[in-house]
Symmetry: C2
Subunit: 543 residues, 2 copies
């Protein structure tokens, strides 16, 4: 029995595109001599379809598309993820299902039992949990067909059951799991552990097929995998790209030496961000990006990533020095632009800034220079970039990092502007880490940009450290608070100053209003700002 895994990248709601792709992969699988071809969870409509699931024409298209695909399912069985209607009288109107199609006929529709409803997941919003568990039989093999989260309750207690406990009593020969499991830099190890533990506990091999490609802020890394009953990783497919590969069920038990998956943090993050940027542009049918180059490390990294994703011919930069910009800023930015080979324009913003100040003078009178004037500069830059976007159909790449977003060290409608935040899930120390990774073979980002002290350059001699703790300290506190949801006491116990922790936590909490209006952030950690972290704006809680 040959099982093929197709980790495809579909477009949410574009059924024609998705069906054509699925059919093309069915042909490929037939050529590979596969008996069964496995596609990812909900790949028919794209994942996550969100509230499209509440629209009848969307569901109708799902059902019709399954009918279209069915015609191609001769001489091969196909497993494909799609929503299916709940025909019972009670409960939510849909299931998150796996269609099992063979001999041009829908043989079974298996429903997901464990519905994730945390972080970026909202599945209980749409789906009724499956309650019945039946193995599928095909060509004398018995298959336990499960959907993503169904395998994820083994060492947790989040759900009150494990579907595999019911399925294993029916003596399956293998587990197939279809997934839409978004990337984070530590997700692959967690995922492989789940696969190993299931294969070993139930004593049968496991075939795992995951989405590839990104959908707005969620990046799906592929990495579909085969694990034998001893918990040995037989193979893992590419990360971040579509592919299909076939495996002979009867021989994978012989594998003794585990496949070694790449798990270098910055390598994965780099690939993920390239995938995220590229797919965002491709799927929206945009080609060209623009960004503001300040001479600092954030915009430098965002530029390199954009060039890696879109090609240097599709990225344009604006350098917009003000009277507070240091001399090295422009020099460093130009060197970087030349290093990566992109075009740039230099637009001095001092005249505009003075025009604003002059216009506001009758109202601001002799009040001291403060955040108003700092933000004016940042917003002038945002406006110029947006004007280029409107005139030439660029998408503005946002260059905010996670530390800034966390503590509100950024200007709404200024440097917080942009269509996509590409490094918004990287703490400042990770911005350095990824920059150094990018420079591993060759100096792409000028060393001076990496070495200089971070500054917003919005007033004379300004340094980030004037208003923020040093980044290694700040980022560690933020990580404990945001990713690990640790308490102030727990962070104090790690050797940090209590008043600083309280101050940082308060900055995070009171800047929810800014993040609410931030661009979508490409998610590379277990807890990114945006869809997966939902905090009230109006609240008052001190940790």
């Amino acid at each position: 029995m040959k099982i093929a895994l197709a980790q495809i990248n579909t477009l949410i709601g574009h059924f024609e595109y998705n069906v054509n792709k699925i059919v093309a992969y069915i042909q490929k699988a037939k050529k590979q001599g596969a008996d069964i071809l496995v596609f990812p969870e909900l790949c028919l409509c794209g994942y996550p379809p969100r509230d499209f699931l509440e629209f009848q024409p969307f569901i109708k298209k799902c059902t019709e598309s399954i009918e279209d695909i069915r015609k191609y399912c001769n001489d091969i069985a196909v497993i494909i993820g799609a929503p299916s209607p709940n025909t019972e009288k009670l409960g939510k109107r849909l299931y998150n299902s796996a269609y099992f199609i063979a001999d041009n006929k829908i043989q079974s529709v298996i429903h997901k039992s464990l519905l994730p409803d945390y972080d970026v997941f909202d599945e209980y919003r749409y789906f009724e949990p499956g309650k019945e568990h039946h193995v599928i039989t095909y060509k004398n093999k018995r298959i336990a067909l499960t959907i993503c989260e169904d395998l994820w309750n083994l060492n947790t207690s989040f759900y009150i059951k494990n579907p595999m406990d019911a399925l294993i009593t029916q003596k399956p020969d293998c587990i197939i799991n279809i997934a839409a499991s978004p990337f984070s830099y530590d997700q692959n190890q967690a995922r492989l552990d789940v696969l190993f533990n299931n294969a070993k506990k139930y004593g049968i091999p496991l075939f795992y097929c995951n989405h590839s490609g990104s959908q707005t802020e969620l990046i799906f890394d592929g990495g579909s995998a085969v694990v034998n009953s001893q918990g040995i990783l037989v193979d893992q497919m590419e990360f971040f790209s579509e592919n299909i590969k076939s495996y002979e069920l009867d021989t994978i038990e012989d594998v003794k030496k585990a496949f070694q998956a790449v798990t270098e943090k910055y390598d994965l993050i780099n690939q993920a961000l390239i995938c995220g940027i590229r797919n965002y542009f491709d799927k929206l049918n945009f080609k060209k990006a623009i960004l503001g180059l300040s001479g600092g490390i954030d915009s430098a990294l965002a530029l390199v990533l954009s060039v890696q994703a879109l090609g240097k011919e599709n990225v344009h930069c604006l350098l917009m020095p003000s009277l507070y910009s240091s001399e090295h800023s422009v020099k460093d930015a130009i060197q970087l632009a030349n290093n990566v080979g992109v075009t740039y324009d230099i637009i001095e913003i001092s005249e505009l800034f003075h025009t604003y100040c002059h216009l506001l003078k009758p109202y601001f009178k002799e009040l001291p220079f403060d955040i108003s004037e700092e933000n004016l500069q940042s917003r002038i830059r945002g406006m110029l970039l947006m004007a280029f976007c409107n005139k030439f159909s660029y998408i503005l790449i946002n260059t905010s990092n996670k530390s800034e977003l966390a503590v509100g060290y950024g200007t709404l409608y200024g440097d917080m502007a942009g269509g996509l935040s590409v490094i918004g899930d990287l703490y400042k120390i990770e911005v350095y880490g990824l920059s150094q990774y990018i420079n591993r073979n060759k100096e792409i980002i000028p060393e001076n940009i990496i070495a200089k002290e971070p500054s917003a350059e919005l007033k004379p001699d300004q340094k980030d450290s004037d208003s923020l703790p040093p980044y290694p300290v700040l980022d560690t506190i933020l990580f404990h608070y945001i990713e690990e949801r640790k308490t102030a006491e727990e962070i104090i116990a790690k050797g940090f100053d209590k008043s600083m922790i309280i101050k940082v936590m308060r900055m995070v909490n009171t800047n929810e209003y800014k993040r609410y209006q931030a661009a979508p952030v490409l998610r590379v950690s277990q807890k990114a700002f945006g869809y997966g972290r939902r905090m009230p704006i109006v609240a008052n809680f001190d940790f």
Copy 2:
């Protein structure tokens, strides 16, 4: 048996404030001679607490606060909504609970069974559903204690059970329901119908206690109610304000004449928006609002609402005419400002606009005037307003309406800027409706503002109708699509042109990226943009 309902307004996470308020209401209830005092769902921590529920110190504070309150629960029983830990080994770690406290002791903790997970609700994200159903006995009365959604499955099939079906077998004397049910202009009738149907079906009286006050975008309208077993509305408490009122259980069956609740759409919306604006400012500890007055109806209405909520002394306006502003715009805006008695400044933006155009000339060359130049003007205005906010601690009131937000007829970082969108859940025709309601006794909004044809005034002789269908048509299509989730076919059947429907739906879908960065919208309908409507940005679905 005297039952008191306290529809209080708490602050999310501010346990000291909330406990003090709860204790004060316990004293009031004692003075009223109440046997039982009922508080709303999750009022101890504030609703919705969102991801604060994932933080241990937050949960600990809930438990400690219950202990504080317990000490005051002598000579009175208190029912109060709060999260409670799930002590079972399996399932989510919290319940959404009602504590029943009497004789200074927690007598029972009842868990919500039906967890809403649609529109603005995410309760399954945090809570395990309650599975057991026991009536509470106090002073020889048996009480079926339920939490909000627990009563809402009577004529629907969304959940697979009705908790009341189990509770009624234990022969309760009455139902008490604690709620956090957000306002929409048609919610009160739906809510009363639910109460009537439950009271009649189970043949016992019903006491319903709802939150009052707003939490960011969600407005809770109070309107706590008592219904007798014949389904007669015995009383309904005030909308949008805190209060406490006691009812004698044994006499409410004698009531034959139903209380008449106010349900005039624009009256309710007006009160709701005042409540929403006032609470947003109060709870964030801000006093002063600013907004840009264009002379059009949207900013006119937003101004009046702001003044109603905050007082004329706390609202300041900027009039920012450009070379494309018509003469009547400034005149009408000044008349409005004088009518409502607010201060204003007039700042001409032509010089700034020309400075931008001049600076961009080397890059834009001879390319025609287009959306870039239109947006520049809108963004200049946004920047000036934000500069005032930064300098003088105003919050910028956003003036976008729901029709504009729907089709993307607004400028990101320009007129879409602001801390709170106050009319973002009103279609343009509803903006007119509410304006006329506001003018019902006296011309507050100058008639000319209501009568003139809508225009963004960003280029010569521009009219909204140049790029949009007439608003009565547009808004009807939008309502069918957004609120009712109707298909294109269904809307065509109502007599609209197919190509126009497709065009409108496509505009809605492709402008998701703008709404993602919009200010939080005060919710007054069943389907507002923001938290309750979750659509992918990158998608491609044609209805």
